[in-house]
Subunit: 340 residues, 2 copies
Amino acid sequence: MATGAARPRRATIHDVAAEAGLSRGTVSRVINAERYVSDEARVAVEAAIARVGYVRNTAARNLKTQQSHAIGLIVHEPHSLFLEDPVIGAILLGTNAILSEADYQLVSLVIDSDRDSDRVAEYLSGGFVDGVIIISARSGDPIAHAVVKLGIPAAFVGHPPDIEGIPFIGIDNFAGAKAITERLLATGRRRVGMIASALDRDSGQDRLAGFRAALGDAFDPNLVVDYPLYSHGTGLSGMRQLLSRAPDIDGVFAASDSIAAGALDGLREAGRRVPDDVGIVGFDDSAWALRCQPTLSTVRQPADALGRLAAERVLSQLRGEQVPKFGTLLPTSIVWRDSA
Amino acid sequence: MATGAARPRRATIHDVAAEAGLSRGTVSRVINAERYVSDEARVAVEAAIARVGYVRNTAARNLKTQQSHAIGLIVHEPHSLFLEDPVIGAILLGTNAILSEADYQLVSLVIDSDRDSDRVAEYLSGGFVDGVIIISARSGDPIAHAVVKLGIPAAFVGHPPDIEGIPFIGIDNFAGAKAITERLLATGRRRVGMIASALDRDSGQDRLAGFRAALGDAFDPNLVVDYPLYSHGTGLSGMRQLLSRAPDIDGVFAASDSIAAGALDGLREAGRRVPDDVGIVGFDDSAWALRCQPTLSTVRQPADALGRLAAERVLSQLRGEQVPKFGTLLPTSIVWRDSA
DNA sequence: TTGTAGGCGTTATCAA
DNA sequence: TTGATAACGCCTACAA
């Protein structure tokens, strides 16, 4: 046993076979729900399993089948994302739900440094996992490339910038941005601006495009500012800039909740009331949304579904099925709170 | 291999032995850093390993040694904690660091429902993990009791309310609360109150005791309010109550950052400036701390160390060493920002 | 110090 | 439909 404290020996197929008065082969067939087992035998085996308290030995099975029955979930940037973003947690939960149904173990691999990155790459090539789900891969990601090279069944959550041939699951940033902007306009706002961000990424571009589509002819490029980072600081600076350009602004779409939180502070320092003077909406429905004062109206990502679908994509590949080598975009929903 | 896409067969000890011109036994001894291996043999084996790209087959090793070389990290309440509390993430990182050094795989087991709880209990009894780290166990926790019953090497992070015989690693809530209150007093505050919480738990009691100790004779029970939950709502209500009891209050120790955030909003609605009129400090150094306006002065938990130590406790037990059956309290530190 | 060989618990192939 | 029997890759006495 694993430790000095003597735990009782676990029952094996051998014990079950003896108990049921059948062969190990038959027991194995029952356990794996194979065909060619008589009902009689099945019942006897199931009873025996219950009596001796049999639990399958994973190591032996893995050794024999040459599979690990484990799927790796690779998460980057723990400090900024894993630790704070509820979206990641929800993805993890969704993934876990699907995988455990299918009798697969989820192994979370956190990448926190270059050393981790190397170690994980080695881990993957060691056959410790049968498949991989990668969250928030970035351009030039070494792990993503290692996965492609090794040919491990994989799926991305979020659109990887420069990888081909691996399915990904993302959200419809365009539709989400368009929908919430329309909702904001429906509250009667006349001068609506946007604090855009990360225009070098799909998510940033698509959110801006959605905003523009919602405004149609009323779109005014002068009311759009953009910054590289989805951050509180971006929101603060962006709001100041917007206010100086258009003091009569009465609505703002922030490209993320963190930006919206910053914008809220910008509005506060300018003495504007939210939502009375200015309505503001965000994107992500992240931890910020509920902590802001007032709470944020925003776009919710179906994070749980993102995780579930990614897991299903990997499992499909494991079954040898064809999976779309392109992406799947999931719809978002609007959460309307107090900020607009 | 795991999938249809044919990946090359992995090299085994057999291949390495052939390549090095030695026996499998010797190769195994080199791999496991055992004694009685000549330098000559070691060098030859290491070269052969590199040449054939050998990676140890975990399943075979686990089968032979009857160990899983995996440690479970059990986290409860994902929605309220795992997903939002950076402390949990840091604990995870610390645990992972120690475990991977010792060649153990960390398996995160998230408990999200009663069904999960049963499944995890079964998982544990299945020998899938050699040891367990349990975060934030609560009174009557079924998993905690299952662990005790199974006799699996384990460690708690945080003080479990009603479990004996398992080491735990916690923080010194008393000292942390005392220190930050003293710091608050040192800024010249004269009327300092506290919004206490969770007085049915050690953490809540100890934080209140620390506050009281710091004030000494100046302690005024009238300036302490308490609520059951560590939450934003608690902070808002608590601050209102404190303001009505003592309009001249100029300092507040909130029992958690979330409470401090609520108190900040309470102060804002009353037109008090922070830190000019009232200084406020929190506890945890959680995600709230940096998102508040102004940012929070608070008590930081050594979350990383918490995780590392818990991992070490479990590894010690695995080695058959005696570990303290009682708790270890780690010191906290103060992070001074803008709210006081 | 090195080599040999048995067996860990499964699954899968082949006969029966 | 069932039973016997090889592996899977590794560790570890024990023998040399």
